[in-house]
Structures are given as C-alpha cells and as structure tokens.
Amino acid sequence: MNLSPLLAQWNYVLVIGLMMIGFYTVIARGNLIKKMVGLNIFQTSVFMLYISMGKIKGGTAPILTGDATTVYSNPLPHVLILTAIVVGVATTAVGYALIIRIRETYGTIEEDEIISAINAQDGHQDAS
C-alpha cells in the first residue's frame, strides 16, 4: 500500500484521528464531563480542518505588502473558526451548567445511574 498521499496530507490524517477520538468519547463514555470533553475534542478537530486548509505553503500573513509576488494564506477559514470557537465555548458553558444542575438533582453525573433514577421515578408515578 502506498502511503505517500496520506503522508503528504498528514494534517487531514491528524484531523480525522482527532475527530474519531472525540466522537468515540462522546458516544462510549457514560460520565457526562467526559462526554463534554469528547465533544470539545470533536469540535477542535473541525477547527484544525479549517485552519490547515487556509494555510498555503510559503504563504505569509494576509497583510498587504505592496509586492505583487507575495503569496498570502487564506484568512477566511481562520475567521470562520474564530466564530466556531466562540460557539464551542458557549456550548461547553451551557453543557457544564446543565451538568451542575443534573448533579444537584440526581447526585451523580454517570449516565446509567441517572437513567435508573429516572426509571425509578417513572415507576413511582405510574403506581400513584
């Protein structure tokens, strides 16, 4: 198997690796904090995807030099990702706020314990 195309685009290989680590953590972990961490890693992989796509080999920061031969990196994906980082911070904040409330109510942040607490509550309500 020829690995050279993969090695030439190593940034995308990293992005995909990070994406899968994050996605797996979100799905497989029962601890809500770990889920949020997984979600953050998943989102960060997308930031890397955008940031690395804007970089041009030998390109400089996009500040006009007056020289027509200067190669610039594309600033647009970087700007987009600034917005996405803000969104990610907001999501994390809302997520942790919810986790704090869940812990206050159920006394645990383990998903399976919360589900069994809810099921117990359901059974109680149906009986009453």
Partner: protein
C-alpha cells in the same frame, strides 16, 4: 425602512434579547417579546407578499457589501413562505403563552426565559433568510443553544428536563458539527460559502470524493437536526419535559427550519444530478417510511400526551422526508405544504395541551378524563389538531397527504403510497384514545375542576382556524408551495 425588511425581521428579535435582560422586569419583558415578534411577523409577511407579487427574489446586501465579499440575504419563493410561518407562530405563542410560562417557570427566571426565547426565534429566522452556508451554522447554533436552555427550564416542574436538555445538547452539537465539516469540504472545493455560487460551481467540479463526503456529512448532520428516524431519540424527551410554551414553539417551528435548511442544501446547492444524491433520496424515502411507522406506533402506546404528540412529530417529519426523497418538484411541493400545515396543527395541539397543563399539571390520559365538558373549547382545539394529523378531509392535513400521495403515484411508487395511507390511518388510534378519555369518561369526583379561561384556547383556535382555512381554501398555499419547490430545483440547474 421596508428596503431593510429582510434583516429587520431578524435583527429586531435579536436585539430584543439583550434589551429584555437590561429591563429586568417581567411584564416589560413580555411586552417587548410580543412587540418584537409582531414586528418580525409584519416584515416577513410583507416580504412574502412582495415575492409572491413579483416572482423575483429580493437580494439584500448586509452593510451594502456585494455578494462575494459580504454576506447577502436572498428572499425567494421558498424562504418567503417559511419565514412568516415561523414569525407568525412565534408571535401567537408569545402572546398567549404568558399564562403557561407563569404557571411553569420560576418567576425570577422570566426575564432570562424571554431573552433565550427571543434568541431562539432570531436564530430560526436567520437560518431561513441567509444565503451563506456558514452563516446558517451560526444562526443554527444561536437558536439551538438558547433552545437547550429553554428545555432545561422545564426542570422547575420535572427534573427530567435536565438530562433531556443535556442529551439534546450533545446530539444537536454533533449534528451542527457534521454540518460544519461538510461546509468546510465544500469550501475547499469551491472557495465560496455563498449558496448561489456554491450551486453554480459544484457541477463544474464534477464527481470527487471530497464532494461526496461533503454531501454525506451535511445530509447526516441535518438528518439529526430534523429528527429523522433512527436519529430521533433526542426529540421526545426534549419536547415532553420542556415548559409547555417552549414545546409549542419548538414542535411547531424548530424542526421545520431544519427541514428547510436540508432542502436548501440538498436541492438548492448539490442539485439532483450530484453523485450520491440518488442514495440520499432513497435513504430519505425509506427512513421517512420507517419514521412514519415508528412514530405512530410509539404514539399509540403513550399515555403522556406531550410525549404522544412528540412521537407523532417524528411520524410527521417522516412524511416530509418521504416528500424530499421523491426527488421531484411534486414531492418537494408536498413537503413544503406539509411543513406549513404541520407547523399549524402541532402549534395548535401543544398550545391546547399547555392550556390543560395550567390546570391538571402533567397531561396524561388519566388526568384529562372527562375534561371535554369542563374545557370544551380547549379539548375541541386538541381534537381538530388530531384530526388534521390523521388527514381527515376539510383539514389541512388532508391536503398534505393528498399531494404527497399524488406525487408518489406520479412515480409509480405504489408500495410507499400504501404505507403512507396505512400509517396515517393508524394515527386514528391515538386520536381516538384521546377522544375516549376526554369525552366518554366521567371526570373523577376528586379531580381538579377546570374553569376554562380564554388563555387556554385562544392561541390554539387561531391556529386551528388556519388549519381549516388551508384545508378548504388550499389553492393559495399549494401554489406557493409549488413555486417554492420549483425555485429550489431551478437554482441548481
């Protein structure tokens, strides 16, 4: 002033959110919310009339920056149809929902509640109006983040709202992130985020793995957002544990906005000829059928009415997916018709449920036993909504099903048409269970006596009358839906 209508309808609710926080007074908060949604509705209705009269799209350049540099808003036949629907329902729910909010949300949270409320409305309208693929993501997250907070506010009554909101947050964020990955791949291919430019450049690029991956990520991310079977598990808890007013707003509008965004991306950007679109169409078709059955069957076994109607939403979204999966202008028009009609009926149903919840608390088959005589108008609104869901003639639901089945028969998809009819008829079972509980049982002696107030039924009845109007006088809506579908398919060619 009117020239700025495309942005004003979004910026007014958006600015109302911080204004409400600054006012810190709950009566003023409600007044500002009502005024902002009313203005938003007037501007969007005016845009709809303008587009319907001229047939030409309205192009609005934000900050007067033209297309490749700035973000533009394009109001065409498709989004001009969806925006007044969202703004109108938002206005009605805000107007009549105050009693429900006061009954269910802690008084000191009211200003913040209305602030998040305005943000979610602004976010939904923004997704529909914008012509920039990344801007859609930003508005999507504005509306979703505030929706997570709104769902969690149901915790005052039922603590299960908290895990429901958390699950909704995790799945909503995964969906939105998939969408951003897809948009990133499209940007790599085309160097643009403008929807019109994307649609023009994608066919020139032809078949590439990157394009195919972009389609897969965008479709999957938005399938999660429209709660397409089997990605629907976040929806039922979120809708059933949220405060009633939030359930009414979200059940009526949130998934409809995502359906619109999916249509815009699939048909307005990728187009029917893009490689992989056939597979996406087949998926939509069969997952739609599966969702129609899964949702309806789950609804039949539910005893909690908010859960029941949330399950039925999954079935109804299934019908919208079937319409999209047909990949024809008739199918797409059926999706648009059902999008409008379902928003009206589900808005009416959840408002009526909210009205009942003000008195009985948790609305279940046993807690509404015999309420038909104590709250006749509220229960009648619920009943009309239920009949429209089944698709009984003279209700808007019938028109939806008629055009959906007609579009299926055009393509000789007899099996799918038959399955659509069977799943619709099955909806009769859960509507009948409600009729039986509300009208045929006697109210237990020790149960709460309900004194019906107009706040319980006014909003629901406005939407029921709209449902009946579009069931009898369907031409205007059908015409608008066909224009919307043709605009969408025309964009990509």
């Amino acid at each position: 002033m009117l020239a700025h209508a495309p942005i004003l309808q979004i910026i007014i609710p958006l600015l109302a959110a911080p204004l409400i926080v600054l006012l810190r007074q709950r009566d003023l908060a409600w007044i500002v919310a009502v005024a902002a949604t009313a203005l938003s509705f007037l501007f969007s209705a005016r845009l709809f009339l303008q587009v319907a009269a001229t047939g030409e799209p309205i192009i609005y350049e934000i900050g007067a920056w033209p297309a490749p540099i700035g973000i533009i808003y394009v109001i065409d036949s498709a989004n001009a149809l969806v925006m007044p629907l969202i703004a109108g329902i938002a206005f009605i729910v805000t107007l009549v929902g105050r009693g429900m909010i006061e009954a269910e949300v802690d008084a000191r949270d009211h200003t913040l509640f209305f602030s998040a409320w305005m943000l979610t409305i602004a976010g939904m309208l923004g997704q529909v109006a914008t012509n920039d693929a990344f801007n859609i993501f930003v508005f999507l997250e504005i509306s979703s983040l505030s929706a997570y907070a709104l769902v969690a506010m149901g915790a005052g009554r039922d603590a299960r709202a908290l895990p429901a909101a958390f699950n909704y947050l995790i799945l909503g964020t995964i969906g939105a992130t998939f969408y951003v990955i897809g948009i990133g791949l499209l940007y790599m291919l085309t160097g643009t985020l403008n929807i019109g430019d994307l649609a023009a450049r994608l066919p020139e690029i032809g078949d590439t793995h990157t394009g195919f991956a972009a389609l897969a990520f965008i479709a999957l991310g938005l399938f999660l957002k429209i709660a397409l079977f089997p990605l629907h598990f976040w929806l039922t808890p979120a809708y059933s544990f949220a405060p009633s007013a939030v359930s009414a707003l979200m059940a009526a509008t949130a998934t409809k906005v995502s359906v619109y965004v999916l249509i815009r991306l699939l048909f307005g950007v990728f187009g029917l000829n893009f490689s992989g679109m056939d597979e996406v169409g087949t998926l939509l078709l069969w997952l739609g059928v599966a969702g129609a059955f899964a949702g309806t069957l789950a609804a039949i076994w539910e005893t909690d009415l908010k859960r029941l109607f949330a399950q039925s939403s999954i079935a109804q979204l299934g019908y919208m997916a079937i319409g999209m999966g047909l990949m024809s202008s008739a199918g797409l028009a059926a999706t648009f018709i059902h999008l409008v009609n379902h928003a009206l009926m589900k808005g009416a149903i959840f408002l009526a449920l909210g009205g009942l919840a003000m008195h009985v608390g948790r609305v279940t088959m046993s807690s509404i036993a015999g309420v038909g005589r104590q709250a006749p108008l509220t229960v009648a609104a619920l009943l009309f909504g239920g009949l429209a869901l089944i698709g009984v003639p003279l209700t808007a639901g019938f028109i939806s099903k008629l055009y959906l089945i007609r579009a299926q028969l055009d393509q000789q998809l007899y099996v799918i048409a038959l399955l659509t009819v069977i799943s619709s008829v099955l909806a009769l079972v859960y509507v009948w269970k409600i009729i039986e509980a509300a009208y045929m049982q006697d109210r237990p002696k020790d149960a709460v006596v309900i004194r019906e107030t107009p706040a319980m039924w006014v909003g629901a009845w406005i939407l029921v009358i709209a449902t009946i109007y579009f069931g009898v006088q369907a031409e205007s809506l059908v015409d608008a839906a066909f224009r919307a579908a043709e605009t969408m398919l025309g964009d990509a060619q």
